[in-house]
Symmetry: C2
Subunit: 127 residues, 2 copies
């Protein structure tokens, strides 16, 4: 039977509004409609939505995701460029994780200070 837009929204913690917006932006050109004209998502479509969420949640802009979808539609000629996109994006995700780890250190340091009951004045270090 397929899934309705609100079922998909629920499943991926999006709103139906957002999914329609993605569709309008060209991220979901493959979604079928039923006789009533409503979007009907197949299990295969859910995999695409999952990938789109993955890319979006790792900071890829909507426009770049749209480009990727277009490459997919173009067929095997774009296999290599798509592969390269994932290689590049993977590198960025690793960078994000590194940055996050670095920032976690700063936060942990602040927490140590707060846990030790130490008050830090704003104008602490004016030299």
């Amino acid at each position: 039977m397929g899934y309705s837009i609100s079922q998909v929204a629920e499943k991926f913690d999006l709103t139906a509004h957002t999914i329609r917006y993605y569709d309008k932006e060209g991220l979901l050109p493959f979604i079928d409609r039923n006789k009533a004209g409503n979007r009907e998502f197949s299990d295969g479509d859910l995999e695409w939505v999952k990938l789109i969420c993955c890319l979006k949640n790792t900071g890829m802009p909507i426009k770049q995701i749209k480009l990727y979808i277009e490459w997919c539609l173009q067929g095997d000629d774009t296999l290599e460029i798509r592969r390269q996109m994932f290689i590049d994006h993977r590198k960025e995700v690793l960078k994000q994780m590194d940055d996050l780890k670095e920032n976690l250190k700063t936060i942990d340091y602040k927490l140590e200070l707060y846990d030790s009951g130490c008050s830090i004045p704003l104008n602490g270090n004016k030299s």
Copy 2:
């Protein structure tokens, strides 16, 4: 002597525009001016800028950071609420790292497919 706005911008990979914007938004109420009226950052100020960047880069909204700065200005009465803020924020950073790891798995899976030279049709799984 202190640092000029563009030196600080350079150091933290921001623009002078952005630093003025942060100042306008109330994130830098403690920055001194020289006789010419230009902002002059001390070494202690740089620590504050570093913390602000850390919070911003881990997803804390400008308004929340501003609130934190205000709490700092209010003195020791707000020590506990500030400590709690860091505890909460730390949790969110850990969540971000988890999410990133999850998404990395999806990306690695896609890369495996692309590396195996396997073409995946768009309408793959219509049931």
